[in-house]
Amino acid sequence: MHISFLIHNAYGIGGTIRTTYNLANTLAEHHDVDIVSVLRHRDEPVFTPDARIRLSHLVDIRKGSPGYDGDLEAYRTPAKVFPSAEGRYAQYSALTDERIAAHLSALRSDVVIGTRPGLNVHIARQARRGVLRVGQEHLTLDSHPKELRLQLRSVYPRLDVLTTTTEADAHAYRQRMRLPGVQVQAVPNPVPAPGIEPADGSHKWVVAAGRLAPVKRYDLLIRAFDKVRRERPDWRLRIYGGGKQKDKLRKLIDDLGLYNHVFLMGPAHPIEPEWAKGSIAAVTSSLESFGMTIVEAMRCGLPVVATDCPHGPGEIIDNGVDGRLVEVGNADAIAGGLLELINDDALRQRMAGAALEDSERFDPARIAERYEDMFHGMLTRGGSLGGRMRGSMHRARGALLGGAYAVRDARRTVPTKGRLA
């Protein structure tokens, strides 16, 4: 199969970018894969794509680059195709409209995958007949503004497949968006096995990682840790990540006198070795569209104490088996969950083992197989769109039938330029 990804900016850093590389790298073992980045703002991508993947861009915004597009009039003219209520609208333009349209009208892949709502709209409206149109939603329907939901509603029926990261979100799309003929399917994000030994559970550290943003509710985690510290002063908390809430959280730590127990570590890439320094992971968000950090921590052998927030945690954690789900917004409940695991070494070790095992279902090899089965089914069935599987599908048949993907190694997504906290 020839599979083509369309992504906002493949040269940056972020959850969708990492997820796309993890999936694309794995699919590239058996298929022709390219990644087309709408924007390019730097020379080298932060994540290294597999050597078999073709990476390209449509609009060059590197100042001083010979192909610099930022001076073009069209770059300054607002976009018409890209939906105006989309979060990235300001970065889109008549130039992106034009270049994406030209790219899609020339694209002869078997499958094209959009990685955000605005690009899904382009694909729904502009991909050639015979190309399987796949839209990925990395956020949730609930988190889209009403205006965007309306804009998507009129266009998404033209997709063949819409994927969400959770069953709960797939359910929401099926119930509320009326998408006749569109296969709405939950496919979790792939998370590779870390390239390091799992944590051994001996370090008395709780670890959290994510942007220091209000939705992550690190204020609650810090308050919860105040209770933990009273009972178990030998345990401490590291929070990795940067963000606007840093000063506020710093002040909270100081006000509570937690400066010997709670540390704001700053951003860390890669994060895996930092998980491995802990024995419990904590996620206290009020909303997690998927819950990537939960899976990452589990793959490093950490049981996760997480708030049972919409949508991801409850679909990832088997409560009481490989982690603990606690009430959203409740510092006492978070402290209780942490102390349960802190105070019972055997339980913690058992959950750690289960976390390692249960998180294997997120391995890129497994996730790529789910996509592949789905594409294969759609393309061979293909009746409504008429013989779209001619050509390159045949080339991939051997791979399809024989294809077991190698278990992944985290090194593939290690940034080419590392950064320490």
Partner: protein, 292 residues
């Protein structure tokens, strides 16, 4: 308009027409052991000849270098070991890979597995403390931060209240006596010295208390020293070195306290210096908030 492919083209012929690909900097994964040793796994530079990992002490003239042979490892990378027995002077060491006859190429960091450095508690039996923490520089290159201190005073938890700073520490490479004390020395005016009591708990562990009232009379930075045997023995900087955090300053931070002084009020608070030594800063209160 079609996409312009910029890297990873499918066939080699196409790649050849796009000119030489940019050389990718060799990358090193580091694993630390609890004894202070480091293992570097370097992506194979792909050139023939004996290869070395080169550590070069920054700002050393003539350059101080440590060369470690890079030997093929099972996974196709090249491995070099820096055992704790190889001394690295205190400072920042830039890391390079060098193939025989070639120029050293700066390494970029891959995965630094430093879990065994977390909460390190060396026995102290060797009389010194050796610390090497690999880290990514601001430019994204690999360097190793090293300390070699004999003797050494490791600072533990600190407590701050309205009147001063209390804390715990442990000495390595020497013993505490009943005459032990801490001295705060004003940076830039070493004649200004304040003494503080220490409370030994055995021959290595101690508690200390540093009242802010006297420190508050001089704005500036007070560096803290332990005199484990009073006037008789050495003096040792108070520092925090025994973990995986190369740069403590932005992570181990402490609240400042407003303290009365001769001219009104100042803010006093402990911090870790760029060398991870403990100091106390006395600074003017923010304008407009004094007297609050």
């Amino acid at each position: 308009m079609t996409a312009v492919f910029t890297r990873g083209t499918l066939d080699g012929a196409e790649e050849a027409t796009t000119g030489e690909p940019q050389p990718i900097a060799p990358r090193a994964d580091c694993i630390a052991d609890s004894a202070g040793g480091l293992t570097f796994d370097v992506t194979d530079p792909g050139e023939a000849g004996a290869a070395h990992l080169l550590l070069r002490l920054r700002e050393s003239d003539p350059p101080v270098e440590v060369r470690l042979p890079l030997a093929p490892a099972a996974d196709g990378s090249l491995r070099a070991a820096l055992p704790s027995s190889v001394e690295l002077a205190e400072g920042r060491w830039n890391a390079y890979a060098q193939v025989e006859g070639g120029e050293p190429r700066r390494l970029v960091p891959g995965v630094n597995d430093l879990r065994s450095l977390v909460d390190r508690a060396p026995s102290g039996s060797r009389g010194h403390v050796a610390v090497r923490i690999p880290y990514a520089t601001k430019q994204g290159n690999l360097s190793v931060r090293a300390w070699l201190r004999a003797p050494h005073t490791e600072v533990g938890e600190l407590r701050i209240d309205g009147t001063g700073l209390t804390g715990h520490g442990r000495v390595y490479g020497t013993a505490l006596t009943g005459a032990a004390r801490i001295e705060a020395v004003l940076r830039g005016d070493v004649s200004r010295v304040l003494r503080a009591e220490v409370t030994p708990a055995g021959t290595a562990d101690f508690g200390f208390a540093l009242p802010y009232a006297e420190l508050a009379d001089a704005e500036g930075v007070w560096d803290l020293w332990l005199h484990p045997a009073g006037d008789e023995g050495p003096r040792i900087r108070l520092a925090r070195l025994l973990d995986d955090v190369a740069d403590k300053k932005p992570i181990f931070t402490y609240p400042a306290t407003r303290v009365d002084c001769v001219g009104g009020q100042v803010e006093v608070g402990p911090y870790y210096t760029n060398d991870n030594d403990l100091a106390v800063r006395v600074s003017a209160t923010a304008v407009g908030t004094s007297g609050a």
